[in-house]
Structure formats: C-alpha cells, structure tokens
C-alpha cells in the first residue's frame, strides 16, 4: 500500500519535472501571482472608485445612479460647513507638516548623535505616538490640554489641534530621516567644522542636503497622516474648528452632501498630479546632472 503511494507520488513529481510541464507550470504560477496582485490593488481602490462614482451622480441618494454630472465639483466651496472644514484641514495639515519637518530634522540629528544605547531608547520613545492607539493618544492629549485650559481658557480649537497633529507627525518625520543619517559619513561634518564652518552652517550645508530624500519622505508621511486623521482631531477640537474627517463623522448618518465625494476625488487627483510633477522634475534634474557629469569627463 505505502509503496504504491510512494511510487505514485514519485510519478507526480517526475511529471512536474518534465521541461514542458515545468514551463507551463511556471507561467501559470506567474499569471496567478499577478492576477492575485492586481485583484488586491483592485480591492484597495474599490472604495475610492465608489466615492468617485458618487461624485458624478446627479442624485443625492447613495444607491441610485441617475445621471452623470459635474455639479458637485462646483458645489465643493458652496457648502459653508464643508468649505470651512476643508480650509481647516488644509491649514492644519500644511502647518503641522511644515513645523514637524523642521523640528523633526533637528531632533533626528540630535538623536543620531547620541550614543547607541541612548539612541535606541530615544527611538523607542519616538515609537510611542506611532504605535499608541489613536483613541488613547487623543484622550491623553485632551487631558493635558484640559489642564492647560486653567491657564489658557481658549486653548481648544486651532491651537490644540495643531499641537496634536505636530505630536503625531513628528515621529514619522524622525523615523524617515534617521536611516538616511546612519548612511551619512560623520566625517563630512567634521571636515566642515575643520574648515571653520559654524555648527549651524555645517548642519545646513552638509548634513541637510545629504538627507534631503529622507526629509521629503517624512514630509509626505506627515502630510498624509495629518490630512487623514480623525480620532485624535475629534478629541482635541473646539470652537467649532472641525476638519474634514470630523465633518464627515458628524454627517455620515444623514444625507451627506455629495460635494464631499467630489472634494475627496479632486484632492486625491491633485496630490497624485503633484507627486508626478515632483518626481519627473527630480529625475530630469538627475539626468541633467548626469549629462553634465559625463560631458565634464570627456
């Protein structure tokens, strides 16, 4: 019995070892692989696609596609609450990105220059806001700001939301810059100081250019996190300073104005376009430098 099974399995193995079979098998596997991959991307983009479909739907009702229209795109800035929320979101996201990028760069250089043990401890501390549950972060910040409220009674609103966003954006910036710093040759900075550079100039002229790709990644991450945040903003808002997520959360049960779908779709496309422009420009620059370099060589 067992010898029969064994010979059968050997036969199967031999069958698959035949060159022709092996080739078809390889092709099939790679097809399955890519079909699976495309399917997962499709799933990830399905909700975004549905939002886009809604944004072109003439009817307000979520389940009824009546006719194709662009009218909601014109309505984005007509709805006062939505318009205000969009302004607030963009303002907070840009400011938080800007501030956390600048501070994050400085702090990362600081963390990088610590001894190994201390550095690891700082990295661990830096992970707290990333790994911490949003709801706990949101509540923690709210509690602190509530204490501050005894001194500054009007702190809730713009100020608290900005501080909260900087709080959770900073770690992402630092984490994207640190690996670039460890690739950097520390002697470069020494050389700069030996050439009578002031420390600040040394950082600005030597270290920052070398880690600029890390800074850019960090900036992108910070902006992405800030623009999409709901929970932390929800606990730290006040004075009617709502961002888009808070507006959506408050409207989701009701007949939400389809203008928000239009905004969402338009925003995604603008960001993608911006990203393409930036990457094309930087690759063009690289090519230009390459050409110049090769010309110099000749």
């Amino acid at each position: 019995m067992s010898s029969k099974v064994l010979s059968l399995s050997r036969k199967i193995v031999l069958f698959f070892r035949r060159p022709k079979v092996e080739k078809t098998l390889k092709i099939t596997i790679s097809i399955i692989k890519w079909v699976f991959f495309v399917f997962i991307i499709f799933l990830l983009y399905l909700p975004i696609f549905i939002i886009a479909v809604q944004s072109f739907n003439n009817s307000q009702l979520m389940y009824d596609f009546t006719e194709f229209t662009f009218k909601w795109y014109g309505m984005i800035f007509q709805e006062r609450a939505l318009r205000q929320a969009i302004m607030n979101s963009l303002l907070i996201a840009s400011l938080a990105t800007l501030i956390s990028t600048v501070l994050g760069t400085i702090f990362s250089i600081g963390i990088h220059s610590l001894t190994k043990k201390r550095r690891q401890k700082m990295v661990l501390l830096n992970q707290v806001p990333i790994l911490n549950a949003d709801i706990v972060t949101g509540i923690s910040l709210m509690l602190v700001f509530k204490v501050f409220m005894y001194i500054f009674p009007d702190i809730f609103g713009f100020t608290t939301m900005l501080l909260a966003h900087i709080f959770f954006c900073l770690p992402y910036v630092i984490l994207s810059i640190l690996p670039k710093l460890s690739e950097l040759d520390d002697n470069l900075y020494d050389a700069a100081l030996d050439l009578y550079c002031k420390p600040a100039t040394g950082i600005l002229k030597v270290i920052i250019p070398a880690i600029s790709s890390g800074i850019f990644t960090g900036m992108l991450m910070a902006f992405t996190m800030s623009i999409d945040d709901f929970v932390i903003s929800y606990f730290n808002t006040g004075q009617g300073f709502d961002n888009v997520s808070i507006w959506i959360y408050a409207s989701i049960g009701r007949q939400m104005s389809p203008a928000v779908y239009a905004y969402n779709t338009a925003f995604s496309f603008l960001m993608i376009a911006l990203l393409i422009v930036i990457s094309v420009r930087s690759s063009l620059k690289k090519r230009k430098n390459l050409i110049r370099f090769s010309q110099n060589k000749i």
Binding site: L44, P47, I48, D228, V231
Partner: protein
C-alpha cells in the same frame, strides 16, 4: 567627532514627550482611583468603583471579546493577503517605489471614514454598485451588512478593517524582504534546497521582524478603533473603542481612563516585542 556634540538638540524633544506622553499617563492613573465629575477635582473622592466595574461588568467583557475577535480575524486575513503581496513586490522588476506608493500612500489621501462609508454602502442590499449593475441587466445581492453572529464576529467590520489597515501589513514586510541578501537565497539553492524549502528555511525566518511589526500595526488600530465599528457595525456591536468614547462622552473620565490604560498595557507589550526584533525602528515606515 564633532557630531556627537549635537546630542543636546534632543533635549526639547525629550521635554515635549514628557509633557505629552508622561503627564497624561500620570493623570490617567490618578483618575482611575477617583470618582470625579470629569476633571473637576474639587468634588472628587477616592474610589475603587472603576476597578470593580472592570472585572464585573458584562459589557466590558463583551467589548473586549468583540474587539479581539474582529481585530484578530482582520489581522490574520491581512497577513494571509499582505505577505504574498509584499513578496511579489519585493521580487518584481517594476519600480518598487512606485508600487509601494500606489499600495500604501495614495489610498490614504482618500478620507478613511469616507472609504468605510463607501464600503458600508457597497455591502447594503441597495447600493450604487447594485444600481449600476441593474442598469446593465445584472443582479447582485450581497447582504453582509447587518448579519450578526453571537460570537461578536461582524463580516462588514472585518472587511472595513482589512481594507483600511492592509497597507500597514504590506509595508513593513516589504521593507524587510527587500533587504534580504539575494546571495543567501542562491547559497540555499546551491546547497540543494528547492524554492519552497528556501522560502521556509531562509526567507521567512529573515522576514519575522517585518511580520511582527505588520501584525502589531494592524492589530492595534483594529482593536482600539471606534469609527469603523460605528460606521460598519450597525450599532449592534460594543467595541472597546466605542466603549471608551461613550465613557468620555458621558464625562465618566474615571472608567474611560481605566479602559485606556488597559489598551496602553497591550501597546507597551507590543512595543517591547518590537524593540526585541527591531531596535532601530526601521520597519515602522
């Protein structure tokens, strides 16, 4: 080494973290032993009520169970889907940077609440997809929304969690897989191992770091979230996140803080785990 002198740049960050991480922790711990009206300390009194409630309340137990069940299933599905995707990207000839952007960052520029609302719409009996399909003569019913089992498992919530947090599983695994030295794989093949054996003996053990981070990055937000269960759970499910939210909304800061500390305990456990496998935190983004 002049660069070592720059260490003092960290000091403001340390102070910032102490105020915004340390201080609230102390406030929360104190709050759990009080019975107070929000943060009003003048009427507060010492009490163990919150602690008693934590161990005796049926709702807390159900909420913990529901959160663990749904977040657990979502994490497993994310792993099953995410690992192959990360593996395919890491071994492809495409511009990986672009694919990773497409997979992780671009979906996040769409508001996550709106995306989950779209999923809720998709899973309703009458949805826009059904309407469009009906118009071209196809009928398709997918009444998963509202289906609710005694186990606390809600398919709609799990779908929402998976589609929201899948990128957080793919990214760390991809980061690790991409860094694996290809010569190790060649060595394994040269020593007679086949592809499958190489994968399980070499590639997978080397990617454990990314897998750990990925699992934690998916499980933690799924476990503690309250917006997705609220949008997709038909209001029938009590989650630990929704419970904390409702406690704080009812100005019961004491019990809310205690529940937050429970979550925090799990988070510190996860951080210890990550610190063990990845000291420099390179898999986190």
């Amino acid at each position: 080494m002049n660069i070592k002198k720059l260490g003092r740049l960290v000091v403001p960050y340390l102070i910032w973290m102490c105020v915004l991480v340390g201080l609230p922790l102390i406030i929360m711990v104190v709050l759990t032993f009080l019975k107070s009206n929000a943060l009003d300390l003048s009427t507060a009194e010492f009490s163990f009520d919150s602690w008693r409630l934590l161990f005796s309340d049926l709702t807390v137990r159900t909420a913990l169970k529901n959160s663990v069940v749904n977040a657990g299933i979502a994490t497993i599905i994310c792993f099953i889907i995410g690992y192959p995707v990360a593996y395919i990207v890491a071994n492809s000839n495409f511009s990986n940077k672009l694919i990773i952007l497409v997979l992780t960052v671009i979906p996040m520029w769409s508001n996550s609440l709106l995306r989950n609302n779209a999923i809720a719409n998709l899973l309703s009996e009458r949805s826009i997809v059904n309407d469009v399909l009906n118009n071209i003569g196809l009928s398709f019913i997918w009444p998963i929304r509202g289906v609710f089992y005694d186990s606390g498992f809600s398919p709609a919530v799990v779908i929402g969690l998976v589609l929201t947090y899948l990128p957080f599983m793919i990214l760390p695994i991809y980061t690790v897989l991409e860094k694996i030295d290809k010569s190790l794989l060649e060595a394994s093949m040269d020593l007679g191992a086949n592809k499958v054996k190489t994968f399980f003996r070499v590639t997978f053990p080397l990617s454990i770091k990314g897998v750990t981070t990925g699992i934690i990055m998916v499980f933690l937000p799924s476990f503690s979230g309250f917006a997705i269960p609220k949008i997709l759970g038909s209001g029938n499910l009590v989650f630990i996140g929704t419970l904390i939210d409702s406690r704080f909304m009812n100005r019961n800061y004491n019990f809310g803080s205690l529940l937050s500390l429970v979550i925090l305990l799990i988070i510190f456990g996860s951080m210890a785990l990550i610190f063990k496998v990845d000291k420099e935190g390179e898999t986190l983004i």
